[in-house]
Amino acid sequence: MGDSQYSFSLTTFSPSGKLVQIEHALTAVGSGQTSLGIKAANGVVIATEKKLPSILVDESSVQKIQTLTPNIGVVYSGMGPDFRVLVRKSWKQAEQYHRLYKEPIPVTQLVREIAAVMQEFTQSGGVRPFGVSLLVAGFDDNGPQLYQVDPSGSYFSWKASAMGKNVSNAKTFLEKRYTDDMELDDAVHTSILTLKEGFEGQISGKNIEIGIIGADKQFRVLTPAEIEDYLAEVE
């Protein structure tokens, strides 16, 4: 690529108008484990593969899906440590908002704050962009919402989206299967089927993680036992 001369410095545009570091960050995301999200009529589901580097790793200590507020959850594809930093910042932002306005932070506001943080790291000296894309799922007064935030800091609201290794197959699968009047349970089944598409090996409650939020506006991560139940229903 003729862009390679401009690929070292984050704060320099290449002649084609791209910030090459961000492109590289997206590549890092694209080689991360598959994750996806589906917005149903009465809730949102987010899910991800949880492939551990070795069978010796204690899989109960790995939490890829995190709760940002009682009614907002998030999953990622890409670099785990970058995700941790973003989650910590989001907790603080959400809590500061709550302290100031005595109201739980709306989903759009939190997404905007996270995206602003990610954008900062594309326009500062001596830092690199975050190597993660996030799927933020929430349920507030505006109903169920699903947002994808990219390393550049851009965010979009999606009805269903996927990121990571198997993104093109997963998105095609979702396009075929998605209906506007889907219920939350159907969405969970669809997300399991989508993950199964590109899954290497035997899918089970221990190597995928699923988080749901329903009309009760409480985000929670499903236990391995609950995932096994859904898997059995899908078979």
Binding site: W91, K92, E95, Q96, H98, R99, L100, E120
Partner: protein, 273 residues
């Protein structure tokens, strides 16, 4: 970075800039405004299964009762509550701030908050402000290590006790506790004792009055009994109604009862398209 607009003094700690102005004003005969204090009787005790906190509900501005039904039992965490005496703004702000910090800590650790954590955060803050934050607190809760009850003084010292009272009515309430408290109280006995102590403060201390609020915290469960007792009801509503001076012709009479609470009706069915 999007700055949340909470003003913080530049180097932390109290900013004494306006003290000279205040001195000049009081020398010229303009007295400083009196603070809204919570006068107060606040109590806490440990019973068989946890902690019971109690408070009165009168807030005063000097000799005037400015709030007949204020809330002095503040939420800190799902398993920790804190009663506050002293300057109302100080108690509310400091408990709010520490509650926020505890929530953040819960996100970081994924665990239930401990009472000693709240205690340490509060006492460090109060000590840093050298007693200028006039908040005297009774902190109680149940965590993984059992039930805990502490008192925190405005300068930052703390006590750990099985039963405690603070505020202007503390002597009246402590008299009740000292004579009737024993270990192994049941929940009902505990609530009754707390109510007795608060009522003692309400009737014998000018700075305390109105109603009794109670909060019962046990392992995994809490009961916030707002206005558990109302020993000071309004009894003076005249049955004759309003009478006009002579020669006034009444054209229309319409009585609109004042609503104390606003009922928020949950959103019903969605609008039809």
């Amino acid at each position: 970075m999007a700055q949340v607009a909470v003003e913080v003094p530049p180097k932390g700690g109290f900013s004494f800039d306006l003290c000279r102005r205040n001195e000049m004003l009081s020398n010229k005969g303009v007295p400083p405004p009196s603070f809204r204090k919570t006068g107060t009787t606040i109590v806490g005790l440990i019973f068989q299964h946890g902690v019971i906190l109690g408070a009165d509900t009168r807030a005063t501005e000097g000799p005037i009762v400015c709030d007949k039904n204020c809330e002095k039992i503040h939420y800190m965490a799902p398993n920790i509550y804190c009663c506050g005496a002293g300057t109302a703004a100080d108690t509310e702000a400091v408990t709010d701030m520490v509650s926020s910090q505890l929530q953040l800590h819960r996100y970081h650790t994924g665990r239930e908050s401990r009472v000693v954590t709240a205690l340490t955060l509060l006492k460090s803050h109060l000590f840093n402000y050298q007693g200028y934050v006039q908040a005297a607190l009774v902190l109680g809760g149940v965590d993984a290590n059992g039930p805990h009850l502490h008192t925190i003084y405005p300068h930052g010292s703390t006590d750990t006790l099985p039963f405690a009272t603070m505020g202007s009515g503390s002597l009246a309430a402590m008299a009740v506790f000292e004579s009737k408290y024993h270990e192994g109280l049941t929940k009902d006995e505990g609530i009754n004792l707390v109510c007795e102590a608060i009522c003692s403060g309400i009737f014998n201390d000018l700075g305390s009055g109105s109603n009794v609020d109670v909060c019962v915290i046990t392992k995994g469960h809490k009961e916030y009994l707002r206005n558990h007792q109302l020993p000071n009801p309004r009894t003076y509503v005249s049955s004759k109604g309003f009478s006009f001076p002579k020669k006034t012709e009444v054209l229309l009479t319409r009585v609109t009862p004042l609503q104390e609470k606003v009922e928020v009706i949950e959103r019903g069915d969605a609008m039809e398209e």
